[in-house]
Symmetry: C2
Subunit: 157 residues, 2 copies
Amino acid sequence: MTVRKPRPTEVLEGHIGYLLAKLGALSSSRMDAELAPYGINRMQFGLLKILAAVGPGSQQALSGDLGMPPSRMVALVDDLEDQGFVARERSSSDRRVNEIRLTREGRAVLDRVNKVAVRWQDELLADLSSSEQKQLVELLRRVTARHLGSGTVQDHP
Amino acid sequence: MTVRKPRPTEVLEGHIGYLLAKLGALSSSRMDAELAPYGINRMQFGLLKILAAVGPGSQQALSGDLGMPPSRMVALVDDLEDQGFVARERSSSDRRVNEIRLTREGRAVLDRVNKVAVRWQDELLADLSSSEQKQLVELLRRVTARHLGSGTVQDHP
DNA sequence: TATTGTTATACTCTATAACTATA
DNA sequence: TATAGTTATAGAGTATAACAATA
């Protein structure tokens, strides 16, 4: 039998929390790097996706959805607006609220970055067979459903 | 057929990166909360585990293993030393290096927090059968091996 | 001159809490 | 008085780079 010198971190990989944190951090930084050329980060990507899926909404509603304080939304939306990806419109029924809606440019960039996200996901899971990929997503979904399903949505790094 | 109003974040859950980041962040903050009563955080937990697995080492070596700059190790080890979990000893062969070794107290606390970690992992995966849990760990390990196996180990949040 | 550990500095990110304008 | 959005402030966490001791 051969004896090999284990990497010291190998002892940590028995903890699924360690694996999740590592892979989550890797995926997050990689996504940000992939999205940067399009002018957005992953939080803004999520914002655009939600707008596309459920239609226009107030900043309050969006900040609730994304689990971030309203104050943090300001710069996020400012930046998207500057690039023409979303439009702020004062609601006519209640002029305190800003209705945020996706613009045509926003939808176009979303189409493009969706492809980028899928490509990165494919690369991340490249060593798994198609059915294994489905298994993994399904298992993660079930774990997520239990722990994040109905509770508060906290920030994801 | 019934129509239901989806949670807005549901549209994000198709991205495995989103799931990994969410679960990673959840697990990290939970681990920190569980470890706090024992006086350590998850990075120090990892440090103790490595020391227990591969024996004493210099701060340089440990900082390399954990993927953090040497400057960050100082406070981490200071705190562990203050609590008596590790001991710093100037190496006799090269007096620049600090040999860090686990103390008896350190080993005792490690035994205790290892149980805490296992308990939290069990809770995290409570909705999966035993074989599904094994599957999930195995799949995550394979993904990790490809992307973190030989490259630089970056900080995990 | 190069390396280990340490300290100092500066920067990024974030939540919290005022503040304004509308209601 | 209460709420949506905004701005200001302060705190945590971090990397980077300067520094001292030793090789």
